[in-house]
């Protein structure tokens, strides 16, 4: 059976840093079939209509986290969103909110990749190093269950585009970084919690969150960063008050 071809209007934000002082919008008419994603719509524009349109993509199956964009104002992976769901309406595609625009739909991720992500020490810090010959660190399925869904984060940054607190103050460490902090803190093989708590307790840590909760709504992997952030508010409060009970006070 031949697939019916329909046409949808796609309005893209355009910004050329070499010639523009502010972004503008450009509309394209894109023929599509029922199985075409928004990313495929963008690829059609680039291949057939306007080769100058810039956007990022890689895997086309919601695991690389490259193709996040604002689709009709909602942060989504463009490979995970279908053109048919917007027809006969129009589609407006913009770069992820709250990030500087490099060009067209491509954002500058430097703040997350260089500052936020390394700051939470997103790796296992074992209590004592163990020689390879001693074998692996063992873990039960129940212990793995405690952190597994946080480990599903693909760093797509949709949660930062959903977080007005990050938009208002980019020093806020933000949802994905705190979800990854929780991923390692909750890991039975990890002993780095004390090292991460200084950041969680800081002015730009968990208390920058006002529980808007939209980060968890838009997460394409079910990571639930809002839950991670708010569990760390409890941890941060306990950390603050328990130091009065510790014999060595603030020193760990």
């Amino acid at each position: 059976m031949a697939e019916t071809l329909r046409t949808i209007e796609i309005e893209c934000l355009r910004f050329n840093p070499e010639s523009d002082t502010a972004p503008s919008y450009q509309t394209y008419s894109v023929p599509f079939t029922d199985d075409m994603s928004v990313l495929q719509g963008l690829q059609y524009i680039k291949d057939e209509l306007d080769g100058s349109l810039s956007f990022r993509w890689s895997c086309r199956m919601a695991i690389c986290g490259s193709c996040g964009s604002m689709i009709n104002g909602v942060p989504q992976l463009s490979c995970h969103t279908f053109l048919r769901d917007y027809h006969p309406g129009k589609l407006r595609i913009e770069p992820l909110n709250h990030f500087p625009i490099l060009r067209d739909l491509a954002i500058d991720q430097t703040d997350f990749v260089r500052n936020k992500l390394p700051a939470v020490k997103p790796y296992i810090i074992p209590k004592e190093s163990q020689a390879l010959a001693q074998g692996e660190f063992l873990q039960t399925p129940r212990e793995m269950h405690k952190y597994y869904h946080y480990s599903e984060c693909i760093n797509c940054l949709l949660c930062y585009a959903a977080c007005p607190q990050y938009g208002l103050d980019s020093k806020f460490i933000g949802p994905a970084a705190i979800a990854l902090m929780q991923r390692y803190n909750a890991d039975s093989r990890d002993a780095g919690r004390a090292q991460r708590m200084d950041l969680a307790n800081s002015d730009h840590g968990v208390w920058g969150c006002t529980l808007v909760g939209y980060c968890s709504e838009v997460c394409p992997k079910g990571v639930d960063p809002a839950h991670a952030v708010n569990q760390n508010k409890v941890a941060s409060t306990l950390d603050y008050f328990l130091r009065f009970l510790r014999p060595n006070g603030d020193r760990r």
Binding site: P17, P23, D111, V212, G213, A226, Q231
Partner: protein, 127 residues
């Protein structure tokens, strides 16, 4: 940071751009109403302690149509606030194996039971 020229979009009016943020702002903005309402009730208790004539004056003001309308408006926001706060309850609990819907439902049922118990108590005391 990169040395490439970038464009940063303004945040002005951010909460009006998405219905989710509008609902969040109503939740947050409704909180001061409850503070004012609590102050009004405290004023009633203070009036009571100052004597029958002052309490009668407070009670007269409390029965003004404007005050009754304000009470109803605050009640609507209180219901909305309770609903929305219990809706985010699953984000604030420790990692427990209870479905989010169950947690939200339990919170709302607890709030209704507490309200009815308080109402029954007040009714019983004043009869």
């Amino acid at each position: 940071m990169s040395s490439v020229k970038t464009y940063v979009r303004p945040m002005a009016g951010w909460w009006r751009r998405n219905p989710f943020f509008v609902r969040y702002m109503i939740r947050e903005a409704s909180a001061p109403l409850f503070y004012l309402y609590a102050l009004w009730l405290v004023a009633g208790i203070v009036a009571l302690s100052l004597g029958p004539s002052i309490y009668a004056a407070w009670w007269t003001v409390a029965q003004y149509p404007l005050m009754i309308v304000l009470n109803l408006v605050i009640l609507v926001f209180a219901v909305y606030h309770t609903w929305t706060w219990f809706s985010v309850l699953p984000k604030t609990t420790p990692d427990i194996d209870v479905a989010p819907g169950t947690l939200i439902g339990a919170g709302i049922v607890a709030a209704i039971v507490a309200c009815l118990a308080l109402f029954a108590f007040a009714w019983g005391v004043t009869r």
